[in-house]
Amino acid sequence: MTVLQRALRTCWLAACVVFITAPLLIVLVASVSTDHVLTGPPSGFTLRWLQEAVTYEPFRIGFVYSVQVAAVATAVALALGVPAAYVIARGGLPGTGVLRSLFVAPLSMPRVVTGFGFFVLYASVFPTAYGTVGGVALAHVLLLLPFVVALVGSGLANLDPSLEEAGRDLGASSSQVFLRVTLPQIRMPLAIAAVFAFLTSFDEVDTSVFLMPPGVTTLPVAIFLRLEQNQDPTTSAVSSLMIVGSLLLAGLTALALRRSGLFGAGGRLNRGART
């Protein structure tokens, strides 16, 4: 490789990194800068916007609301998605290909359309679901299922099937085998699916915005609504908090997984021992 090629490659990588991180960095800087609108280098440091963001009532309500929605949506998506992934991977049923596509289908549907669909559904059939944690969470479940089914499915595909057979052979019923053999073996994809589902739901605007009255909304929708009236750095501040929170959650998960040695354990190692 020539020096020129090396330099070009470095520049290319640097450009990519800047492209990915620039919006995040701008937001982080804007949220602690004294300027109302960031037009050049920040003229001073302040925690005022962060304080305002934390005390702003719709954000406070929104945060609690979002956590509730994300928790419910994640729980339901796992409860539905894990057995579905298991049946697709192990059931030996005809038409599992169709089933797999069906679970991934929501990915290709515009989220706005999904949101509108649920809005019409609630308006015409379940008016009580509108604006409730359960109602919003249910719509999110549809968006989360593809991730759960895909991630858990790949975990199951990596799992040596003779482990489950050994469980059955040793006298465990199907449900015991699932709980005592399969589930512990797919802990890692399961944990990743859970964190990913939680963050996706927490972050969701397009679908949620149709399903809540303006007064009581999830945090991202509250940000969206505030931005329509007021462009002060408080919005940057709350965004910064979300960035830091998400990174923290992802980082802690990675750390926890590494601590418990999950990166090493699992089906792959067992397969390696097979030779």
Binding site: E165, L170, S173, Q185
Partner: protein, 355 residues
């Protein structure tokens, strides 16, 4: 840890098809109780399929499986009085050795001191007591296989099924484990059914062997009987080393094949003849007992014997095994001789070519 009752296993007309091809084609056999039984054959012969049908991990398309005289064809795996040792061991990677062995007891509702006692007992049997708290990933292949066997034996099955249990181990460990398996079978009094593709392994361990090929049983008999009286060309070739002669033609009071003469053999009644290497003698090419001449190509020393590679005038390669100390060297031209009773006759009904 004597099993209260070892059971016989009977397969009655078992058929198992995968995508239209029969992996098992009407297989019937009886495995006596308290015996060490081997299912022997090349890969793809259906031996593992048969083992899985006995374990209940797979269901036959036709036929029945009887264990201890009772029909278990419809019994699911977790309720059968059998336990299977998987080729990979299939130890649960997230459990210690002790918890792996305890798994089957917990499933059966055996807990507390009685469970602990049985776990210790079975760890002791396979000499793995000091590894009880280790994780499977930290064990060697041989140790894992011992734990897998202990995990199955702790259930005190009527029948222990083993799927190529030694194939992942290096040769010296294999040789040792053959004797260990044989000893454990005798100590527990459990019926052992072991699948293997290694004929030497089967010969050493088994009380009885079923030689399988292409989804069928070629011959089921004691090892000595298979060795001395193979019923088919395939068995003659597969069990031990052999010189198999085909294409026999009638010739002056006997039969001739590949320029070797077999007096007193009726070429119409046999499809092949077999002479074990150790039954061949080398004599003077002109001696009256010489059944044909050949040239010595290689001489190999094994310790107790010399392995002599020969080629005769029709280009046929032969193997002879002579006591060490025999004077012979590469390039010699010799006569081949053997006693009449050394010639094994494969009946004419076996028309299939040797694989």
């Amino acid at each position: 840890m004597g099993s209260p009752h070892a059971s016989s296993v009977e397969a009655v007309g078992l058929v198992r098809r995968f995508d239209g091809t029969a992996a098992l084609d009407r297989v019937s056999l009886r495995i006596p109780e308290n015996s060490f039984y081997c299912l022997l054959g090349p890969s793809g012969c259906g031996k593992t399929t048969l083992l899985r049908l006995i374990a209940g991990l797979d269901t036959p398309d036709e036929g029945r499986v009887l264990i201890g005289g009772r029909d278990h064809t419809a019994t699911p795996a977790h309720r059968r009085p059998t336990n299977l040792v998987f080729q990979s061991g299939a130890l649960f990677p997230h459990m210690s050795v002790r918890d792996n062995i305890d798994f089957g007891l917990r499933s059966a509702g055996v807990r507390g001191p009685r469970a602990r006692e049985r776990v210790e007992e079975s760890l002791e049997l396979v000499a793995m007591g000091e590894f009880a708290d280790r994780m499977p990933q930290t064990l060697s292949g041989g140790q894992r296989q011992r734990v897998a066997i202990a995990r199955s034996l702790v259930k005190r099955p009527d029948v222990l099924l083993l799927d190529e249990p030694l194939s992942a181990l290096d040769l010296s460990l294999q040789l040792h484990m053959r004797r260990e398996l044989k000893r454990w079978q005798q100590e527990t009094g459990t019926t052992f059914v072991c699948v293997t593709h290694n004929q030497a392994e089967a010969m050493e361990m088994a009380d009885e062997i079923a030689v399988m090929r292409a989804g069928r049983i070629e011959q089921a008999a004691a090892p000595e009987h298979l060795y001395e009286a193979p019923a088919t060309r395939f068995v003659a070739d597969f069990i031990g080393e052999n010189n198999v002669f085909t294409g026999l033609a009638a010739d002056r009071g006997g039969a001739r094949a590949d320029h070797v003469f077999f007096p007193g053999v009726d070429a119409d009644l046999v499809s092949a003849l077999a002479v074990r290497p150790e039954r061949i003698r080398l004599v003077d090419p002109g001696a009256p007992e010489s059944a044909g001449t050949a040239r010595v190509v290689t001489v190999g020393f094994t310790g107790r014997t010399l392995r002599i590679g020969l080629t005769n005038e029709s280009g046929r390669e032969l193997l002879a095994e002579l006591p060490a100390g025999t004077r012979v060297q590469a390039g010699d031209t010799v006569g081949l001789a053997f006693d009449p009773d050394a010639v094994v006759r494969i009946p004419a009904r076996d028309t299939e070519a040797a694989a």
